[in-house]
Symmetry: C2
Subunit: 556 residues, 2 copies
Amino acid sequence: MASDIDIARAAKLKPIQDIAARIGVPDDALIPYGRTKAKISGEFLKSLEHRPDGKLILVTAINPTPAGEGKTTTTVGLGDGLNRIGRKAVICLREPSLGPCFGMKGGAAGGGKAQVVPMEDINLHFTGDFHAITSAHNLLSALIENHIYWGNELEIDQRRVVWRRVMDMNDRALRQIVCSLGGVSNGFPREGGFDITVASEIMAILCLATDLTDLQQRLGDIIVAYRRDRTAVTARDLQADGAMTVLLKEAIQPNLVQTLENNPAFIHGGPFANIAHGCNSVMATRSALKLADYVVTEAGFGADLGAEKFFDIKCRKAGLHPDAAVIVATVRALKMNGGVAKEDLGAENVQAVKNGCVNLGRHIENIKQFGVPAIVAINHFTADTGAEVEAVKEFCAGLGVEAVLASHWAEGSEGTVELAEKVAVLAESGMAQFAPLYEDGLSLLGKIEAIAKRIYRADDVLADNSVRDQLRRWEADGFGHLPVCMAKTQYSFSTDPSRLGAPNGHSVPVREVRLSAGAGFVVAICGEIMTMPGLPRVPSANHIKLNDQGMIEGLF
Amino acid sequence: MASDIDIARAAKLKPIQDIAARIGVPDDALIPYGRTKAKISGEFLKSLEHRPDGKLILVTAINPTPAGEGKTTTTVGLGDGLNRIGRKAVICLREPSLGPCFGMKGGAAGGGKAQVVPMEDINLHFTGDFHAITSAHNLLSALIENHIYWGNELEIDQRRVVWRRVMDMNDRALRQIVCSLGGVSNGFPREGGFDITVASEIMAILCLATDLTDLQQRLGDIIVAYRRDRTAVTARDLQADGAMTVLLKEAIQPNLVQTLENNPAFIHGGPFANIAHGCNSVMATRSALKLADYVVTEAGFGADLGAEKFFDIKCRKAGLHPDAAVIVATVRALKMNGGVAKEDLGAENVQAVKNGCVNLGRHIENIKQFGVPAIVAINHFTADTGAEVEAVKEFCAGLGVEAVLASHWAEGSEGTVELAEKVAVLAESGMAQFAPLYEDGLSLLGKIEAIAKRIYRADDVLADNSVRDQLRRWEADGFGHLPVCMAKTQYSFSTDPSRLGAPNGHSVPVREVRLSAGAGFVVAICGEIMTMPGLPRVPSANHIKLNDQGMIEGLF
């Protein structure tokens, strides 16, 4: 089969106006960026508020393995499948980050015959949203430094500036720096550092904001530093929220593109799935629900992290009511969960598939806890044998859940007709009785325990006094009602990435807690979390170039 | 009179397709960014190469003072004036930098009734060119660090990494940093720092490149570091040039917008006018020359820096032949050059005007040295008296140059009809016999001396042995043919910003020289040059916000 990029280039893209018209977005509500990308005006989206919502379908997955699960690909394939069977469906995806493109080969716009296009644009500057977030973030950084420089009227404790800087680039040298060196005119030397832009709280804020007013409110709420008496200094105290909002006024508007099959796709926002909630923007999802009968969206990582945060943070905050969930699994990944090494995945191994299904089974049980009916999509790889696929179906049937083979990667929507039909039935069934896992009123530690015990199946949560005290202090300061955002490894239910399958008897150690007061959640960090990646020994940047036809090589 | 922003908002903008059609750019050659901004495709521009060039008119000025000269405003006003008298004219301007918008109030898109629009967009993210430059620049930084981290095969001397990082933000804390702290996995600690994006060599490169192939060649030529034996390591050695070109492939295409009077304006690129050449892109100027009969463009700062670099760097490198120059002066600024304090500018003072004309006179003489016929535009302020204006006209007449009063700020093109008519005559006169100030073959120090003595009228150039040795080493390495780019104060012909008028008897001390091997010039630094500005005590960011109508307040 041709490469992703060759397939993408062979696609006949329609003018974005035609795609918009399919979902009733008129020309004058479109802000074009080239011919095949556009933003949809916030004003137009506001005018839709009275409309009823379509059905919301979450695509999530088993724990990721190096074998690949294809969550984005399945989201695209399902969206195309729904359109193929005559349903008006829109896909909602996250925007990929530019920086990592230059490290490991590979974009983030689906693959095979289930892609969103124009994929080069989507993977690079796209419509500039991430650049705007970088600018707004670093403007706030500059305003903090500047405030201290000119007298520090707010009495910021320079040792307690918690707002770092961001760059959309993998640059390990910037993780930890000392800035303001060089003398009086450069400020007061202090430690600082950079995260990658997707780890910015502003990214999370943009993705949870419901409109510009809410955006500015949240930006103002960001805690940038503490005083010596531990009281918080916010972006609003620095009068930074207005200018930051101005920098983000285009970025908050959802981006419309299309799939290879010319179906509409919103690609908007891309927060980290560890220290943030890992879902595309509320603006995009809400808008899509007003414009389509079915909205297919995805959440980051496996269902233990992605789906939990989608339900407990995004849906809770935005008042969304998901109607169905699709859990993506592959025979290959289940085999790895069943103990097979990556190099042995080529050989049939039905027993390993059966063993690995415990991972899938636990995710199925977890989704049920949220009151959302689930279906399993087996993302088909050519080497999968019939017996292996059958083993997965049997396992799922035992849990009362259907598993459907989907071959969108090779066949496009032709390969997801059955999946689409069954998902549509499930979403229309009225079975969904969505509720978040825990109540707002539960203590912060109680929330962490609820997730650790009920989703991760840990025996207990380990947190030393400094963490417990911090959580209590935030409760006293009025942040106790916030949901928690768990930052742990995506490879295991536990905090040990090597424990595949369905581990038991583990503890969840909370090393550190952080308050994202603007985004509106408390981050519980359980294990090493890298917020500024590095580049590999041979970065893909070495091979990325324009060829003689002016087309990009080496990016995918 | 209404404020700039009110005037800009009251303007009736035409769809950018209509503006493009006026200069024969078809719809399918346009890449729209919203409805009133577009890039023009490189492919289309290539197809114009056989066409004859229009007339090229440079707008330059006397040395800037706090009183304001209005070079951009005059460029816009003259362009509108030429269109008003029936000539097909295009304006070429630089893109403003985003960072400084949040410091001092004020954008850079003209003023009064002589503006380019949409001014908010132009002053903020615009079409993302500066973000792309920032990304390409910092990708190279990350690749340098990464190369050293993974074994340093090229044997880069970590103390001699000359490639800093950039950000489009005024952040003094980043001027000087120590990076790669925090242990083994973050690299080798070393000194570094950030410049503002407009100071990036990539900005200069983008503005001098003639096409994508030339762009990649220049990017590859960038010297990023030296080895212990002082041999240079380039971006090409790091295999960074291809990926950087990919990041810049949209940014290299000129941006089309319009004036308040719906005339076409190219706004593209914005290199610093001290450590770089301070002109809009060669791509924009060349394209405009193919599409219009008259192209009005501006150069940074006063004519001693801006015009000299326009002629000696941009025109030399791009094979441009300017047909006329307009020197902008104001009665107010001449009075300041004549010794009047800013607070006393309101009162008539003909003698001070006469005294200050020595500054104008020297610029007139300098322009003549390049073989370009000049005319003086007196940018009218309401407080100017008839006698003051007459004094300027008389002074110019004595030098054989016409001075024309222009009131575009208050009246738009109605106020530049006379100027436009006279400029058109001058440009069509065939009087221009353009030649750069010095030959390529002159030594690098000889070039610095030529500019210092013939343009700045200094007695001599002071350079210690380390500077002289460095220049000789570059000559030995094959860089002797490059032009020099002078970095000195813009406020005086001398290197002392307080010496207004036409100082004599001064020396030009060259503190440091830098090689911009990709841009293709040697920078001679004469005095303090700030490449990362700071924010003022009360930054305009504090007052920038969206108002109830969703419009930006406080930016202008």
